[in-house]
């Protein structure tokens, strides 16, 4: 049974519904009357919640919002149930809920971005980018993210150099070679993408750092590479999948061996998509805290050598400051968080712009 048994096949004109019966009734379209009902329900919901909160002495704005919502949902359900049918009422009830979940998700995202911006924008200045924390006490003004920026840059560079070739070659194995082990490899790559970030750090710590390697930027790079490989591989494989098979076949038909067909025809066609995949990987790795905590450890002085000694990076800088119980440190952490989120936003936008331009170009071909 696919359809609710109560639903009449023909729209039955309801005695209480004065709408023109020649026009088929569509529950998703709101008539002027529906709109008025919605507005009145919303108004009464607000009034009800306000009165309830006043009487019960509830102060939390969230409580107010929840009660207003409950009342609004109840009102619209009862009203449309009364004027139309149960099916329509249910449909509208669910429509409201689903719109709400969309609004909630976007609302949370905007709330978070605005919150970080407002908290962090006050502490930004030029010196924040050019000073490190070597000679700055916890309560002193000044100091900045120079060491952290250098560390982030070096560690991300190391992670990219390791992970991008492996990831793209793996994607090539999965989709161009379609080797015998393609299915298990895809399975493992999926499992890797669910690897908790702290475990990625822990394994590098166990194998390298704790076995005499010591904390270093390079070990952080390796831990981040483990996080990046699955992201870049899966995105790259999706991109390779969008490439027209005719292109491959033409290359092979012209007598090119497979490696030249892939290297000179398939990969150049997919170039923008592969760049997108790599940038997305970097955007994900740049904000990871748990893996670098166990490998780079963090440092207040500038360490230019990623191969020896603890190194700072942006997330670790924030992490370290949050552990200090004073206002100055926390404010600094917010400013650094703003810088971090800006970096993520820039990388994310860049990836999308390049990706879309590339997709357009491929589509036009």
């Amino acid at each position: 049974m696919i359809v609710d048994p109560v639903v009449p096949a023909e729209p039955v004109p309801d005695a209480r519904a004065p709408e023109d019966t020649d026009v088929p009734f569509r529950p998703k379209q709101l008539s002027a009357k529906d709109r008025v009902e919605y507005l009145l329900s919303a108004g009464s919901g607000l009034a009800f919640a306000w009165a309830l909160c006043l009487v019960m002495d509830w102060r939390a704005p969230l409580t107010f919002a929840i009660w207003a919502l409950v009342w609004f949902l109840g009102c619209t359900y009862v009203l449309s149930r009364d004027r139309t049918s149960r099916v329509v009422a249910q449909d509208r009830f669910v429509t409201t809920l689903i719109w709400l979940s969309g609004l909630l998700a976007v609302g949370v995202l905007v709330w978070m971005l605005v919150f970080v911006f407002l908290k962090g924008v006050g502490g930004l200045s030029l010196s924040f980018f050019t000073e490190d924390m070597a000679e700055v006490g916890p309560l002193d003004p000044g100091g900045g993210i120079k060491a952290a920026l250098i560390g982030t840059l070096q560690q991300i560079a190391i992670a990219t150099v390791i992970s991008v070739p492996i990831a793209i070659l793996t994607a090539v194995y999965l989709h161009e070679i379609k080797g015998r082990f393609a299915t298990p490899v895809r399975f493992i790559v999926d499992a890797m993408s669910g690897l908790p970030s702290i475990v990625a750090g822990l394994v590098v710590f166990t194998i390298w750092v704790n076995e005499g390697g010591g904390f270093s930027g390079a070990s952080a790079g390796v831990a981040l590479a483990i996080m990046m490989i699955p992201i870049v591989t899966r995105t790259a494989e999706e991109i390779l999948r969008t490439i027209d098979d005719g292109l491959r076949e033409s290359a092979l038909a012209l007598g090119a061996p497979q490696w030249r067909a892939v290297l000179q025809v398939v990969l150049p066609t997919a170039r923008s998509g592969l760049i997108t995949a790599s940038i997305l990987g970097v955007a994900r790795a740049i904000g990871e805290t748990a893996p670098v905590l166990l490998t780079a450890f963090g440092s207040s002085v500038t360490n230019l050598n990623p191969f020896s000694g603890p190194q700072a990076n942006l997330p670790l800088y924030i992490w370290g400051l949050l552990r200090e119980p004073n206002e100055v440190s926390v404010n600094r952490a917010w400013s650094a968080a703003l810088v971090l989120i800006m970096l993520v936003l820039v990388l994310f936008t860049l990836a999308r712009v390049i990706g879309e331009r590339g997709a357009r170009k491929r589509g036009a071909r």
């Binding site: 609710d4 249910q90 689903i98 822990l202 061996p257 748990a290 917010w334 968080a337 989120i341």
Partner: protein, 329 residues
């Protein structure tokens, strides 16, 4: 070296009409190329294998010192006396993940349906971007936002739940004036937002596989949009949706930094989810490893191994469910 591509010629054709078997020589370059790509793929397998093997090797001393059974059932952390147990932390890890699912699943599925079925075309593109962006925001930022922005409104909600819904055992408080901050409830709420993108994007993919003809059939028979979703989309995508929820569960189990920032770490299992004090395996590792020495390091690695195995099992089950539902429906 000439390799014959295996081809089964149609047996009922006379010999001269059968298609000629295609022979292609695999050049030296091709062999190098295939070896390189195969090597890269093998690296991925190697990384996962090495993770399991090395964590196990390093975990053994701690497991021996504390006893395997005790390590996973006791709730103590006194490395000096070889008393180590993460039983309580395991319970709390799962509790945080369950709270996250309770809040995140309705949101994520609602969002997936919204993007697929309800949102106007222009909005759709923006929303997919927003979901991707939500997935790209660092865990650290989620944690800071959860601690500084979410704590106050949510502890208000927690107070209300404790006052009015304490018929449910997990909403009860041990003492009436217990602190309601830094709890499993609040950590779960933050993690709920963090697992929304993965559940939304995977279940969206699954829901998009429903044959459009069936959806239109439901609408054509007079069903409402909700009727179509309830009777066509959800049953068709059921196993895939279950898989996506499991994937979210796996992510929630392993979430580290956001949880560490929000909760106050305790070792005992805390079933009063609204009250201060919670824990997770990853939070233990992140907050203890800085000053850990000797056997404690092994114990942290053992805890990490437990987390690794737990998430791996959940993820593998989830992926196989999702993959199967994508193939057949």
């Amino acid at each position: 070296m000439a390799v014959t591509t295996p081809q089964t010629p149609a047996p009922d054709l006379p010999v001269e009409e059968r298609p000629r078997a295609i022979r292609s020589a695999r050049t030296f370059g091709d062999r190098v190329f295939r070896a390189l790509a195969g090597g890269a793929a093998a690296t991925c397998l190697l990384i996962m294998a090495a993770t399991g093997i090395f964590l196990t090797i390093k975990a053994i001393p701690a497991l021996q010192a504390a006893g395997v059974w005790d390590f996973f059932t006791e709730s103590v952390w006194q490395p000096a006396e070889d008393k180590l147990g993460v039983g309580g932390l395991l319970v709390n890890t799962v509790l945080i993940a369950l709270v996250a699912l309770a809040m995140g699943v309705p949101l994520a599925l609602g969002l997936a349906l919204f993007i697929n079925e309800y949102a106007p075309a222009r909005l759709k593109r923006w929303l997919t971007g927003a979901v991707d962006l939500l997935a790209a925001i660092p865990s650290l930022i989620f944690g800071m936002w959860g601690y500084f922005a979410l704590q106050e409104p949510l502890s208000g909600v927690a107070r209300w739940l404790a006052d009015h819904l304490n018929a449910l055992p997990f909403f009860r408080l041990t003492t009436p004036d217990a602190a309601l901050t830094r709890s499993t409830f609040i950590a779960g709420a933050v993690v709920a937002i963090m697992i929304t993108p993965i559940i939304t994007s995977v279940s969206r993919d699954v829901m998009a596989q429903v044959p459009r003809v069936q959806c239109e059939g439901a609408l054509g028979l007079g069903g409402s949009r909700w009727g179509m979703i309830r009777d066509v989309i959800l049953p068709f995508g059921r196993s895939g949706i279950v898989g996506s929820i499991l994937l979210g569960f796996g992510r929630a189990l392993g979430e580290t930094i956001a949880v560490v920032l929000v909760i106050a770490l305790v070792f005992e299992p805390n079933f009063n989810i609204l009250e201060l004090g919670s824990g997770s395996i990853s939070a233990l590792i992140a907050s203890k490893f800085g000053e850990a020495q000797g056997i404690e390091i092994n114990a942290l690695i053992a805890a990490g191994l437990a987390l690794f195995i737990m998430t791996l099992v959940v993820n593998l089950i989830a992926r196989s469910i999702v993959n199967r539902s994508k193939l057949g429906g």
